[in-house]
């Protein structure tokens, strides 16, 4: 084999290997939709992907909820408890006004949450829900939720926010308690809140002075 042949073969092989490299780079990104589809289809992870991506179909939720509420199962009770958290960069007050409720599967229930903006600026917040046990996620239908959209709060503004939900009657027998956790995020500030914390003291003081 002479040198020219050798170079040609090497170049062709290199081309093929580079294709693998590019393909695998793409595959890394493909893992993202793959992961979301898996979680969605299998109902694992307790994530509300549509809600988080802001693509929730409110009418469809309403319909599913109405359908579930046609057959209330009075013989069973499920305890639903609520947890609230703030991502570290958000200076709000946020809590559930009802810490926990007991419902029958199929029974529509409404509870309220309270939020107050403690910063000196307008904040666009987004609540991200998560359910434990993850298995219960498929059977928990929200008909109305403050997490379906951004919550815009002016400095010092406070709101009460509704959540209307129904636990579907086909919920597996072994689930008697469902925990629903909400985390509020500041949609505009993702760097761990370093800027917010820097600006905070004055703003907070101003709040308290009022």
């Amino acid at each position: 084999m002479n040198n020219a042949d050798q170079n040609k073969i090497t170049r062709r092989l290199t081309g093929k290997l580079l294709l693998v490299v590019v393909g695998m780079f793409g595959f890394g990104f493909l893992l993202v939709p793959l992961y979301n589809v898996m979680c969605d289809v299998l109902g694992i992870n307790g994530r509300f992907i549509d809600i988080q991506s802001g693509q929730v179909d409110v009418a469809e939720q309403e319909r599913l909820g109405a359908q579930a509420s046609l057959q209330v199962d009075e013989s069973r009770e499920v305890r639903v408890q609520f947890l609230t958290q703030l991502n570290q960069n958000l200076n709000w007050e946020f809590r559930a006004l009802d810490n926990a409720v007991t419902v029958h599967p199929g029974q529509v229930m409404e509870v309220r949450f309270y939020a107050k903006n403690l910063t000196g600026r307008e904040v666009v917040g987004q609540a991200v829900p998560s359910i434990v046990p993850a298995k219960a996620f498929k059977y928990f239908t929200k008909m109305e939720c403050f997490c379906f959209s951004h919550q815009v709060l002016k400095p010092g503004e406070e709101v009460e926010m509704p959540l209307r939900f129904v636990v579907r009657p086909d919920l597996p027998e072994d689930i008697r308690t469902i925990s629903l956790a909400y985390t509020f995020f500041d949609t505009e500030n993702r760097d761990g809140g370093k800027q917010v914390r820097a600006e905070e003291p004055a703003a907070v003081l101003a709040q308290h002075a009022r």
Partner: protein, 520 residues
């Protein structure tokens, strides 16, 4: 090409396209990184010598564990294996050089820049002790890593490291597939060449995935995407999946070349052929394949469904089968061999023993229900230091002793070599074995302080650490002494070693096999 030697001075090293020069550069680079990463480990052990906070602040401690891990993985072990590949593969397959010598120069010279980029943030803000460097663990999990101010430096460094590895791997694959001497069929290749061929394929498959992961981090932080950012619909757990899809094959990238080195050393000093050559090849390939489908054994505690836990558990435990094939083959090679224990053999035998301990603890961790107890404790730290230090690093050091006479033309000092070995092998066990105990008892990893009941074992662990660290300075002394002079080595160096590299003179001439050798 004519009979020309290397250029003179610094230009030789900057512009060299010679596989031996580049191999030397890689090996020195990785040795320097070993010392830098080792110095960081000394800081870690100094802090952990006694309970309570005494030497550094917690953030600085976190920065040390992070940088230690990154530097050892990407700066020390990986470049050392590439250095070995550069020096040895062309000689082992009877090729004049690597397939793409100029790209080879680039693959190396990217590395110092990448390493600089990686460590630079530690010195930013003018205050080293403030710990401005990465402090989120070598696995850089989101969302913590996403909050790091100098993230762009880190990401850029990872990209450069990835490009270097990919170029190196393409070169190695092209060399092995296209430049073998006539008659050197695939199944006649030395084990080291086989393990590197498979490693190179692993690298081009997973380094791009790592590049994808850091690119997503970059756009999340600076361009408003939400791959891993929960506020915008992303999920930090997704990061762990992408990372470990790279990360698990990565641990095999570090160990397969070590398997290859040991498979070269043991037959020489047992004076027998490698037992079960073809089963070694298939086992290596099987390990590589399985390494792609077990990644979530690093994530048993994130809240996977039971079916997922079971799947990843069975797949993980299955890796023990081809791994055991290798260990049994090394043992069978030694069985009834006329063994002698020169320094390279000592390291290789220690490798077989101690790597196997790491394999066993790996199995314990692979069992999902028990991993819930061990996860994120010092037990995991003990596991991966047994496979990486007494595994990968021991094999590499053994390899240096084995081929150093061929590279330099001089014998190393056998007495000092043995001293280096015994110091290292004792201290490394004093260092890491107790970590199994404190881990099982619940001591968490990556925390600068601990409960007092762990104090005794940690004290000994630190003593072992300091001795092990200092012993590696002896290694440097031995290597430099051998380069400078010493008893002349014969061409074969050892009794009756197998392989084409032993058919060329010692030291190996600057150009070898410009005409392909005859393979019987």
């Amino acid at each position: 090409m004519s009979e020309h030697g290397p250029e003179k001075g610094i230009k030789r090293w900057l512009f060299t396209t010679n596989h031996k020069d580049i191999g030397t550069l890689y090996l020195w680079f990785s040795f320097i990184m070993l010392l830098v990463g080792g110095a960081m480990a000394m800081v870690i052990r100094a802090e952990l010598m006694y309970p309570g906070m005494q030497v550094v602040n917690p953030n600085f401690f976190n920065m040390m564990t992070t940088m230690h891990g990154l530097i050892m993985v990407f700066g020390a072990i990986m470049p050392a294996t590439v250095g070995m590949a550069n020096w040895l593969i062309p000689m082992m397959i009877g090729a004049p050089d690597m397939a793409m010598p100029r790209m080879n120069n680039w693959s190396f010279w990217i590395l110092p820049f990448a390493a600089t980029m990686l460590v630079l943030p530690m010195f930013m803000g003018g205050d080293f002790l403030a710990g401005q460097g990465p402090a989120f663990g070598w696995t850089f999990y989101e969302p913590l890593s996403g909050q790091y101010d100098n993230l762009a430096f880190f990401i850029f460094a990872v990209h450069l490291l990835g490009i270097s590895s990919i170029m190196g791997s393409i070169n190695i694959i092209a060399t092995i597939l296209n430049l073998r001497a006539p008659g050197m069929t695939l199944m006649k290749m030395p084990m080291f060449v086989w393990t590197w061929l498979i490693t190179a394929f692993l690298l081009i498959a997973v380094m791009p995935v790592l590049a994808g992961a850091v690119t997503m981090m970059l756009t999340d932080k600076y361009f408003g995407t939400s791959f891993f950012d929960a506020a915008g619909g992303g999920d930090p757990v997704l990061f762990q999946h992408v990372f470990w899809f790279f990360g698990h094959p990565e641990v095999y990238i570090m160990i397969l070349p070590a398997f290859g080195i040991v498979s070269q050393i043991i037959p020489t000093f047992a004076r027998k052929k490698l037992f079960g050559y073809s089963s070694m090849v298939y086992a290596t390939a099987a390990i590589a394949f399985l390494s792609f489908i077990v990644w979530a054994h690093h994530m048993y505690t994130v809240g996977m469904p039971v079916a997922g836990e079971l799947y990843f558990m069975y797949a993980t435990v299955m890796i023990a089968v081809p791994t055991a094939v290798k260990v049994f083959n090394w043992t069978a090679t030694m069985w009834r061999g006329a063994m002698t224990f020169e320094t390279p053999m000592l390291w290789a035998v220690a490798f077989v023993f101690l790597f196997t301990i790491g394999g066993f603890t790996g199995l314990m961790l692979g069992v999902a229900p028990s991993d819930f107890q061990y996860h994120d404790t010092y037990f995991v730290v003990a596991h991966f230091h047994y496979v990486l230090v007494t595994g990968a690093l021991f094999a590499l050091i053994g390899g240096v002793y084995y081929w150093l006479p061929k590279w330099t033309g001089n014998m190393y000092d056998e007495k000092l070599g043995k001293l280096h070995f015994w110091l290292s092998v004792i201290s490394v066990n004093v260092l890491f074995f107790p970590q199994h105990f404190v881990g099982l008892a619940g001591m968490q990893r990556r925390v600068p302080d601990y409960a007092v009941q762990f104090a005794d074992w940690n004290f000994w662990s630190s003593i072992g650490g300091f001795v092990f660290g200092l012993s590696q300075l002896l290694f440097m002394y031995i290597v430099i002494k051998t380069i400078k002079g010493g008893e002349k080595a014969s061409d074969k160096v050892w009794d009756n070693p197998e392989g084409l590299e032993w058919t060329v003179p010692s030291p190996a001439p600057y150009h070898t096999f410009e005409t392909a050798p005859e393979i019987k």
